[in-house]
Each structure stands twice: as structure tokens, then as C-alpha cells.
């Protein structure tokens, strides 16, 4: 039987794993799909190819389709996010100069304490602290803003876009003092002795949605059958990635020349949650550093769309209430329910919730009875209760 070809764009990061695994381990073929995986060089390119029909689906920063809907990009057909591909996987790194200053001030680089790291940085950081992020509309930008909010750092931090493969070089050259990026690019900076890892993204926010599967609304609605097959293949790949013992093999597949083209040892760090935080080889274990499936990680909560839409609106000077409502329409919980029920996905009773309310795993009502969500807390205990228009 010949496979239905689909062109899917990805940017080389460990969180592209669900798409690569779906193709390489046959989850796509089981659904009758042959994925033509196109390695892209950045997020603007991904957006432009999806917007002009150069690809059918994209591995994309979760806030990017929201920014599109808010009118912050070129005039393309509407994008929809149909499921999350990953949660977490980001790390904050500081330059070698800041590492030295932090150590001198007694900071121990524990990797999991945002308050201690922020306080220490506040004591040693220069007046202007330039922080690199991969794109203006990224979970990384949201993490950095949340981390410094209300602290003495807030007024000193400026956020700058740096393409992830250039992060280490930008840190070494002093173009930025710190950065927040997805793996393997934070580890790459440690490997090249450009800096040290200060914090895991998940230490700031326990469940930060990082990448999503994004299609044009036109495609998702005109071709529901193919959309469903793609979602099921990717969902099964996500499940496989979170089953015990599979991450090492995933690192081997991802590292191949045609995909990330890196030593497997480097991709493995984030996937296994064993990060080298400094060039001296200090290792920190961070369980669930990146999640692909567990805790209903794939379900695109409408409340998360509103939260991220609000963050973008505040940063860009747009009306936050309107942004929350517009953002909510981007996350297609309806398509998630429609297409993944058949694959056996358990589905929560609600499609929106109070974000940041779960300090630990929490049971909620679902179609099959009960499902375990969370934790999803923010380090500072903040919660976000979406407006009624979102629910």
C-alpha cells in the first residue's frame, strides 16, 4: 500500500522527537502516512512555509500561532494548534563571566531553585542584563519575563532574539549575558565553555508547553481524515517517548546526520534529564526535564492559549482581554477530542482550567473516569484564572 505523503517542517531541537519518531518507528506508516520531514533553520521560515503552503504541518513554538492570530506577523491564512508536542526542555544559561561572579558570591548552581538563582544574579549582574531567547514569541520569552517579574532584575533585563545554534557563540562573544533556550543548545554552550546552566525551564513553571503541532485551519478543516491520522501517529510517538527506557534510543535516532547531526551524548542530556551544568562536568539530575506525553501533556488547554496570548499582548502593547479571547480560538481542543479519542487518549472533562494551581499530580474528571494531571505550578505561586470568554 502506498503511503499518503505529508510535508512536515521541524527545527532541529530535541523536542522535534515526536515527529521524527513517528516517521522512523513506523507510527506514521501505521496510519498510512509517509512524513517528509524538512529540517528548517528558524521560526520565521517555519511560519512562512506553513503560511504559503510549502509545508502541510509544522513543529512550532506554542506562542507563535497565537502571535499570528493577534496580527503580529505576515498576512497568512489562520494557523491552528491541534496538540502539544512537548512540555519543558528549556534551560537558562549564564556567561562564563557571570558564572565566576555567581560562584564567588556563593551560588551553587543547583539548577532547580529560581528564587536563589534570581537573588544571586541580582547581586552580581550588570545594570543591563541582556537575555537571549529563540524568538520574540516563545515560551522562553514568557519564562524569562515570569522569572524576573517583581524582582530587582525586572528593570535590568532586556530580551533579545538569537537563533538557537548561535546562542553559545553569542554568549561567548558577549552579545548576550544569559539566555533561555531549548535543548540541545543550552548544553552546547556548556560543551563549548561559553557558560553554565543556571535553571531548568520547569523549575520556573512546572508545565510550560513548548512546541505544538500546527496546521492551517484550512488544512485541518478541509482534510479532517489526514489531520486525524497525523495527530494519532504523533500522539503515539509522544506516548512511546515517555515510556520507560526509550529515551536513549530516541537520542540515537535524533542525533543522526539527517536530523540534528550532533553527538548522541549531547542530545541525550536533555532527553534523560542528566544535564552537565558547567564545563567542569558537574551533573544535575532533573527528572522529567522534558515531557512528551505524561500528565496529559499533549492536551492544548484553552486556558494556556489565553495565558500566553495575554503575555504577548502585554509585551507588545495590545489589549490583553481581546488577545485572550482571540488566542483561545487557536487551540483546537475540539479536534483533539475528535481525532484522539479513537487512539485511546483519555480526555479531560473541561477544556480550560485555572493555570498554575497544581503543586503535585492531581486527579481530575475525564471521559474514562479519572486522569492524572500536573503539577503545573509557577515557582512564585502565581495562578491564572481565565476569563469566562475563554471557557
Amino acid at each position: 500500500m502506498s503511503l499518503h505523503p505529508l510535508r512536515v517542517g521541524y527545527v532541529p531541537l530535541i523536542d522535534a522527537a515526536p515527529l521524527i519518531v513517528a516517521q522512523e518507528l513506523g507510527f506514521a506508516a501505521e496510519e498510512g502516512l509517509g512524513l517528509e520531514l524538512l529540517r528548517l533553520q528558524g521560526w520565521a521560515q517555519s511560519r512562512d512555509l506553513l503560511g504559503t503552503g510549502g509545508i502541510d504541518a509544522a513543529h512550532m513554538l506554542v506562542p507563535l500561532p497565537i502571535a499570528q492570530r493577534l496580527g503580529l506577523g505576515p498576512d497568512y491564512p489562520d494557523f491552528d494548534l491541534v496538540m502539544f508536542l512537548s512540555q519543558g526542555g528549556q534551560a537558562i544559561a549564564v556567561s562564563a563571566a557571570l558564572e565566576t561572579a555567581l560562584r564567588a558570591a556563593g551560588h551553587g548552581f543547583a539548577f532547580d531553585d529560581p528564587v536563589a538563582a534570581r537573588d544571586a544574579l541580582e547581586r552580581v549582574a550588570p545594570a543591563g542584563l541582556r537575555v537571549g531567547v529563540p524568538f520574540p514569541f516563545s515560551t522562553q520569552a514568557e519564562l524569562v519575563r515570569r522569572w524576573v517579574r517583581g524582582s530587582g532584575l525586572a528593570a535590568r533585563v532586556t530580551v533579545h532574539t538569537v537563533p538557537p545554534p548561535r546562542m553559545a557563540a553569542a554568549l561567548a562573544a558577549g552579545e548576550v549575558d544569559a539566555f533561555c533556550v531549548g535543548e540541545p543548545w543550552a548544553s552546547h554552550a556548556v560543551e563549548t565553555a561559553a557558560g553554565a546552566l543556571l535553571l531548568a525551564g520547569r523549575s520556573i513553571w512546572a508545565a510550560p508547553p513548548e512546541k505544538g503541532l500546527v496546521l492551517t485551519r484550512q488544512f485541518a478543516e478541509a482534510r479532517p481524515e489526514v489531520t486525524g491520522r497525523l495527530m494519532r501517529a504523533v500522539w503515539r510517538a509522544c506516548r512511546w517517548l515517555d515510556q520507560g527506557g526509550n529515551r536513549g534510543m530516541a537520542a540515537d535516532i535524533l542525533s543522526r546526520p539527517e536530523y540534528l547531526n550532533l553527538p548522541p551524548e549531547l542530545s541525550e542530556r536533555g532527553l534523560l534529564g542528566r544535564l552537565h551544568v558547567s564545563a567542569q562536568g558537574e551533573v544535575r539530575q532533573f527528572p522529567d526535564f522534558i515531557r512528551f506525553h505524561a500528565g496529559a501533556a499533549n492536551f492544548p488547554w484553552r486556558s494556556l492559549a489565553a495565558l500566553l496570548g495575554r503575555g504577548i499582548a502585554l509585551a507588545q502593547g495590545l489589549d490583553p482581554a481581546r488577545a485572550e479571547t482571540a488566542a483561545t480560538a487557536v487551540f483546537r481542543t475540539d479536534l483533539y477530542r475528535l481525532h484522539l479519542r479513537a487512539a485511546g487518549a483519555d480526555l479531560p472533562g473541561a477544556s480550560a482550567r485555572v493555570e498554575g494551581a497544581m503543586r503535585g499530580p492531581t486527579a481530575v474528571a475525564s471521559e474514562k473516569g479519572q486522569m492524572i494531571l500536573g503539577p503545573d505550578a509557577f515557582f512564585d505561586g502565581a495562578t491564572y484564572d481565565p476569563a469566562s470568554t475563554v471557557r
Partner: protein
């Protein structure tokens, strides 16, 4: 009318020069080329170009996206990714592999000749690159087929012509390409040896 200042961000010197040549035919502009990706934002702030041309696949585009957003509406060096009103031009540019960032308020009729020239140059480059890739692939296949023939000649004691005929017949029977059959044979021989 003031001359337009056009900035080209391109690492490959040869390619940059060809784009510059291409633009010369579209009018009298001040053209600058930046090959270095570091400090791109600072250079653009200094140069204040009217138009920036950059490969769609250049990772530094994401830096330009930020510039297009970050500055105030009155002093933005780079306002929008091509002209919102001209969807066709956007598509043509992206298909050709070029993206353009244009200062806000610049009239479409001043942008169009420049973008048309850039699109033509980028198309030419894609064609050359595709031809080069095809040549390389053909060479690679040639090598594999030669190795497969050698394996058959040794294993079956036949001459080169007969070895090729056998490969071709197998390919036809299986409705596959000769190069694919050769590839399988070379791989199987590698496993058995």
C-alpha cells in the same frame, strides 16, 4: 526621489555579488552587503536600510522579526515582512527563497522592481543548486552500480555487460530502479562478507 538603501544579508560572497549585480538592473540604489551574522541588529540600526533582503532559510531572519516588532512606529528601521497588500509577491518571494523586510510607508511601486530582481536571482541560484545536487546524486548512483556489478561479476563469474543486464532485468521484474537494486545488493554483500 531619494535613492533607496538596500541591505543584503548573505554569507556566500559569490551569491551576494550576483544579487548585487541583479539589483543594478532594477534602478539606482545604495546596496550594502553584510556577511557576518553577529551584531546584525546593531549594524541594521546604524545603516537604517529601506529594504533588507535575506534568504528565507537564514537563521538570522528571526533577529529581523524582532527588529520589525521592537521599535516604535516612527523610527522602525524595518517594518514588515514584504507588503501586506501584495500576497502574490509574498508567495513568489518565499517560493524563490528570498525574504524582504521593508521600511514602513515605502510605496509598493518602489519595492517591486527590487524584489522582482531579487526573486529572479534567487530562482537562478535554486536552479544551479538543484542541478549540482542532481549531478552529485547521479555520480553517487554510478558508483553504487559499479560496485554492484563488480560483486556480481565475482560471485557469478560473468562479464560486466552480463552483470549490468542482470541488474536491469531484476529492476524491471521488481518495478524498481537499477540504482535501488544495486544498493540492496551492495548492502546484502556487506552483511554476508
Amino acid at each position: 526621489m531619494a535613492r533607496l538603501s538596500v541591505l543584503i544579508v548573505e554569507k556566500d560572497r559569490e551569491r551576494a555579488l550576483r544579487i548585487v549585480d541583479g539589483l543594478a538592473g532594477s534602478g539606482d540604489h545604495d546596496v550594502t552587503v553584510i556577511s557576518e551574522e553577529s551584531g546584525l541588529a546593531r549594524r541594521i540600526a546604524e545603516l537604517r536600510p529601506d529594504i533588507v533582503l535575506i534568504d528565507v532559510a537564514n537563521p538570522s531572519r528571526d533577529v529581523l522579526e524582532e527588529l520589525a516588532l521592537a521599535t516604535g512606529p516612527l523610527d522602525r528601521p524595518v517594518a514588515m515582512f514584504v507588503d501586506r497588500s501584495d500576497e502574490q509577491m509574498t508567495r513568489a518571494a518565499i517560493e524563490a527563497g528570498v525574504s524582504a523586510y521593508v521600511v514602513d510607508g515605502l510605496q509598493a511601486e518602489r519595492i517591486k522592481p527590487i524584489l522582482d530582481a531579487a526573486i529572479a536571482r534567487f530562482h537562478l541560484f535554486h536552479k544551479m543548486r538543484a542541478e549540482l545536487a542532481a549531478t552529485r546524486a547521479a555520480l553517487e548512483e554510478r558508483k553504487i552500480i559499479d560496485r554492484a556489478k563488480a560483486i556480481l561479476m565475482k560471485a557469478r563469474g560473468i562479464d560486466e555487460e552480463a552483470a549490468y543486464a542482470l541488474l536491469r532485468k531484476t529492476a524491471m521484474d521488481q518495478k524498481r530502479r537499477v540504482a535501488d537494486i544495486a544498493q540492496q545488493l551492495v548492502m546484502a554483500a556487506g552483511l554476508l562478507s
